[in-house]
Each structure stands twice: as structure tokens, then as C-alpha cells.
């Protein structure tokens, strides 16, 4: 037996208790005072704070939104600023803006345009990062990892406003993947089967299985070929 859940519609400046809903549409400056679970689409628009775990099949966050627990979403589209105190898991994360996660972030596809900060491990099948601001993670692991520095765009003014004096640069301790293709990245260790180090990379140690391509503008202190 499946229970029919109500839909949540709320707007203005107010607070609401959490709960379990079929869908949620939240506009304005809203505080959700507890965990929120949504079976379908959760739309958050404005300045939204969820004071617990947020679980949704599909999530759209526009503006500024904050989760004080963990975030779990099948597909998460975040435009603007998002701040998660716990960890993030799900299938697909599409970020345009800035995401900050205290814990780990584990999704199948991580597509980011903007900047991010992951306190723990960023673990994804495909990591595709286009940096406008600063990217930071303790560790990145996955199958295919690609980082690009974006210089020009129609949105440049907005990004400059959002990330005032940040260089579009990524800082990670360890990057491990099958196919690693980096630009503007600072890392202690990069390990992969096929590794491409583009301009602006400063790497302590590179370990590669089959192939290493190093751009003249990339620095690596140590290059080691591993495996057979």
C-alpha cells in the first residue's frame, strides 16, 4: 500500500516544519525546521534553509540554499549557492554556481560550472568541472575526471561578482581516476591510467598506467609509470 503524500507550497518569509511530501515548491526566505523528504520534485527558490536532512527524487535549487544535514537527491540542479553541512549522494549533480559540502560527495555524474568545496572525497563516475572560481576537495576519485579553466563567458561579470578575487584554480590532495584530464590544478598526487596535465597544473607526483601527456605549462615534480 502506498500512501498519497501531500504537496508542499509555501512562499513569502516564513518557516515550516519538515515532513514527507509528494512534491515541494518553496519560494522566498523560508526555514524548514527539520528533515524534508520529497518523492518527486523539490523546487527551492530564494533563500531556503533546511534544518535537517533533505531527500528528494529531483531537486532544483535556485538562489541560496542551505542544508544542515545530508543531501540526497536523484538529480540535483543547483543554480546559485548551496551549502551542505553533511554529505551529498545521488545520481546526477548539475551545478552552476558554488557548492560547499562538509562531508563526502558521491554521485554518478558531477557536472560543475563555477566553484566548489568538498571537505571529504568527491567520488563520481564522471567528474566534469568547468572552473570559474576556486575548486577544492580533499580527494577526487572516479572513472573519468576532467577539469577545465573557463576564462571568458557571457556570465563573466556575474562570476566575478560571485567569486571576487579567486583564481579559477583547483586544489586537491589526491586525484585518482582511470582517465584524468586536468587544467589549473594543484595536487600532491595524481594517479590514473591515462593522465593529461594541461596548462596551470602543479603536481607533486604523477603515477600513470598507460599514458602521460604533459603540456609545457604544467609542472610535475615526479613522474612514475606504474603497472605492466
Amino acid at each position: 500500500m502506498t500512501e498519497i503524500r501531500p504537496d508542499m507550497h509555501i512562499n513569502g518569509v516564513s518557516s515550516t516544519p519538515g515532513g514527507h511530501y509528494r512534491s515541494a515548491s518553496i519560494d522566498g526566505v523560508i526555514k524548514v525546521e527539520g528533515a524534508l523528504q520529497v518523492d518527486g520534485l523539490a523546487r527551492m527558490n530564494g533563500v531556503v534553509t533546511v534544518k535537517g536532512d533533505l531527500k528528494a527524487h529531483e531537486l532544483e535549487g535556485d538562489g541560496k540554499f542551505k542544508v544542515q544535514g545530508r543531501l540526497s537527491a536523484g538529480t540535483a540542479r543547483i543554480n546559485g549557492l548551496a551549502d551542505v553541512a553533511g554529505s551529498v549522494d545521488g545520481e546526477h549533480m548539475i551545478l552552476k554556481g558554488m557548492l560547499s559540502v562538509k562531508g563526502d560527495c558521491a554521485v554518478e555524474r558531477f557536472e560543475a560550472e563555477g566553484g566548489f568545496e568538498v571537505g571529504g572525497l568527491l567520488n563520481a563516475g564522471t567528474v566534469d568541472i568547468r572552473l570559474y572560481g576556486r575548486g577544492k576537495a580533499r580527494e577526487i576519485g572516479g572513472e573519468s575526471i576532467r577539469v577545465r579553466k573557463m576564462a571568458r563567458s557571457a556570465w563573466k561579470k556575474i562570476w566575478e561578482w560571485m567569486f571576487p578575487k579567486w583564481n579559477p584554480e583547483m586544489e586537491v590532495d589526491v586525484i585518482e581516476g582511470d582517465d584524468v584530464d586536468l587544467e589549473n590544478t594543484i595536487a600532491r598526487v595524481v594517479r590514473g591510467n591515462r593522465v593529461v596535465l594541461g596548462p596551470g597544473c602543479r603536481i607533486g607526483r604523477v603515477e600513470y598506467g598507460s599514458e602521460l601527456v604533459r603540456h609545457p605549462g604544467a609542472k610535475a615534480n615526479e613522474e612514475v609509470k606504474t603497472g605492466a
Binding site: D89, A106, A124, G141, D173, G177, D178, R191, G192, T226
Partner: protein, 207 residues
Amino acid sequence: MERELISKKELLDSMGISYGQLYRWKRKQLIPEEWFIRKSTFTGQETFFPKDLILTRIDKILNMKDDLSLDQVAGRLSPSLPDYDARKSDLMKRNIVTSVTMQRFAGEDPDQTVYPFEKILFFYVVDKLLQAGDMSMEEGDRLMETMRDHFPKFEGKPCELIFIRKMGVSSFALVSVPSEWHFDGGVRIVARLSMTECIEQLKGILG
């Protein structure tokens, strides 16, 4: 008893798997979070694994992966108990638990009694140790009691059963994983069983 550790790199080399596979299995929770042990080495922080656990686990994943999807493998490997029950007569007929054990520990239950998975697991563990000749019937009673009283407290988190003996006096303990224990000199560890492993085996047998 110090657990032997294996570094991530050694693991990948010896099993012939890639970083991508390892991270995918981690995401699918085929490899428990607590097996990823971060340690400082002279080159910085690196990840290590409990060697025997991770090697058997990866062997299992590689073997199962051909017939099952990753999500199915995850279900088979998860330490949570499945919603499964079986009749006493079936357990004996399929020789999942020997009739001697059933006679002794469930002699009063009629043949058509239906046991939940947890109870079958207890029979299975007791049976295993009895068959190995490590444990007497009387000790089996106490083991049964220990598991019944304490196993549910782990709530699906991985745990191990330790069976020790000192000067003929035996004792059982359930401990959470990973853990380290150090005993005084007279103690002999008779058996050390991963309950998680037993659950997996039993799930495999029951199908």
C-alpha cells in the same frame, strides 16, 4: 591481534582492477566505508584496507558481477538481514543446518516451524563451529544465548564473533568491526568469525 593492511595501490595491482572500479564499488556500497583506513605515510595521507577482508570481498564482486547487476551484488553483500524465512524441515532437508544441531537447539519446535533469517543465521553459526569440532554442545547453548541477546544490538552494522578459551574455560564475544584486541598470554583464540561473512554465505546458500 593486529590486522594486516594492504595499500590501495597494492590492492589494485594484485587484483588487476582500476581506480574507477574501486570508486564505483565504493559508491554502490559494495565495500564498506569503514574498510577505507586513512593513514599517514612518508609521502602523505594514503588509504589502506584490512587485507583479508578486502581481498575476499573483491574476489566475490568479480565473481558475482558476471551474473548479477551491481545493485544485486550490493543487495547480496549488504550486512543487513534479508526478509527471508524458512521452515525447520526445509533447513534440514536442504542440509543448511545439520539435523544434530537442529535436534539439540530446536528439538522442541515442530517441523513446520518457520524461522526468520536471524534465527537461521544463529543455527548456521552454531552448526559451523560444531562441525569444525571447535566447540562442545554445552558451549553451543551459551553461544546461542550470546547471539540472541547481543546480535540485534549491532543493528546491521558489521560485527565479529570471537570465541576464546583459557585453561579450559571458554567465552564468547561479539565485537564491532574494525577492532583490535589484545589478550593475556594464556588465552587461545579458538575461532574468529565475521558475522557479515556468515550472513553473506547464508544468503548465498539460501539463494
